[in-house]
């Protein structure tokens, strides 16, 4: 059985936890941009963390079930609609009945949502197109709900950063002193930031560098002084200098930045970065454990 794609939405992609091992060939690890949302959506349905979910972006797809399917939409609080009944709520599991059509609409905050189905999708990860069939198993769900971990208080988002490989090319503290806004031309490859251009330090204005390995979270500054923060589908090597690197504990937050959002950077130490990552992992594991018990 399957979900049939009536319309694909803006950018809907089946994702897992990513596939490292091919970066040396130029292939990024990919996977869910908001890993916590993906993992919790799976946990709500009793799935393993690596089960394939559908990542939806800003405007979601329309999908018709040909058999009962236990679903949940998590991550950004997308509005949902099913003709002929009260709309399901993002964050709460529901059963899409045979013949019913789920419309994943827009979201008032964040960018990305995750549609999980019981057992996960069994089709290959490729960008959705109308007419595609998303293979999954028949299932039903009891209503289970989780508060949104992706929701954040209004105001600027602060991303914690470690020094980048070319931190000394830039004026010390210049990145942290600025406020940026997220540009519309942002995607899974990178988040482009608009703001006061980041100046190079004295003696570094004309410096050029050979391309080096880079990773998700790298803050690259192009020659026009505008930063780009690399995402999970970002390039594997880069030739622009990098003043800073967003810590892994904040990569999910990066993935939910919406065009127009305000962004600031705050420098942390490696010890603080590792503590933050451990705390985030422990919190996620705790939620998953509680959901497993409740199930």
């Amino acid at each position: 059985m399957s979900l049939r794609v009536e319309s694909p939405g803006l950018f809907s992609l089946p994702v897992g936890l990513g596939r490292p091992g091919r970066r040396a060939l130029g292939v990024p690890a990919g996977g869910a941009a908001d890993r916590a949302a993906h993992t919790l959506a799976n946990a709500l349905l009793g799935n393993r963390p690596e089960a394939v979910t559908l990542e939806v972006t800003l405007a979601g797809p329309t999908l018709t079930a040909d058999a009962p399917t236990a679903c949940v939409v998590f991550g950004a609080p997308f509005e949902l609609a099913v003709a002929g009944r009260a709309p399901p709520t993002a964050g709460t599991t529901f059963t899409l009945r045979r013949g019913e059509t789920l419309r994943i609409l827009g979201t008032p905050a964040g960018v990305r949502g995750t549609l999980a189905v019981s057992g996960g999708f069994r089709s290959a990860p490729e960008l959705l197109r109308a007419g595609d069939l998303l293979d999954c198993e028949p299932s039903t769900a009891a209503g289970r709900a989780l508060p949104f971990v992706s929701l954040r208080p209004p105001g600027d988002v602060t991303l914690r950063v470690l020094p980048g490989a070319q931190a000394d090319w830039f004026e010390p503290g210049a990145l942290e002193a600025r406020r940026f806004t997220v540009a519309a031309a942002s995607n899974r490859m990178g988040v482009r930031l608009l703001g006061d251009p980041l100046p190079r330090g004295a003696g570094r204005r004309a410096s050029e560098m050979a391309s080096e390995p880079v990773a998700a979270g790298a803050v690259q500054v192009a020659n026009d002084g505008a930063p780009i923060v690399l995402g999970v589908d970002g390039q594997t090597i880069g030739g622009y200098p990098r003043p800073a690197h967003v810590v892994r504990a904040d990569l999910d937050r990066l993935a939910q930045l919406r065009p127009g959002d305000g962004v600031r950077f705050r420098a942390v130490t490696v010890i603080e970065a590792e503590q933050a990552a451990r705390a985030a992992a422990a919190e996620l594991a705790d939620w998953c454990r509680r959901l497993a018990w409740a199930g």
Partner: protein, 218 residues
Amino acid sequence: MTAEPLGDQTVLVRPGDEAAAVAWGEAARHSAPAWLHDVVVAYTAVGVHFDADRVSLADVFAWANSLEVVASRRPESPPVAIPVCYERQLDLARVVSFTGLTADAVVAAHLGTTYTVYAIGFVPGFPYLGYLPDVLQGVPRLSSPRLRVEPGSVGLTGRQTGVYPIARPGGWNLVGRTPLTLVDVAAGYFPLRVGMAVTFSRIDEAEFTRLDGTRLSG
């Protein structure tokens, strides 16, 4: 050798020159600790991507510092020859005007060098080949990149030459095109690796048509 954190799930190692980076990368892959995700060699740098849920940055540094690097384990293999139709160019005139060479001399210089794959990236399977002979160095990128560069297009800029394996926007000066398939991401086909030697050979339009779509090797 120096090593520095590249965020908190990658370490950037600088073992010395390009050859040292290739040897270090091979040793790292050979060592293959369970937490190792990827080893990416680009020019003189090596990126070590690790599973940060399984190992601390400090332990990766300790591993990197104690890694035993021997001379390259890879047997010297003959250069990979990539056939290029230099008639299928778009920017030869630009290269001619920047270098002061004739078109034939540009092609001869491009053909007359054995290159090394120094990095793979930008798009899956794009080989950065270096270094161009002196007479071809220093041609700047197009002021505005093309929105679509066809697969197989052979470009050059600065000290580098390379082949676009799949259609992408791009700003390098296009001096020819290979009919061969250099990458098939879905099939896991990536014949080129960092450290390999590459030469170009000249083919005509008829040969281009005959070879169109075949794989680089095999």
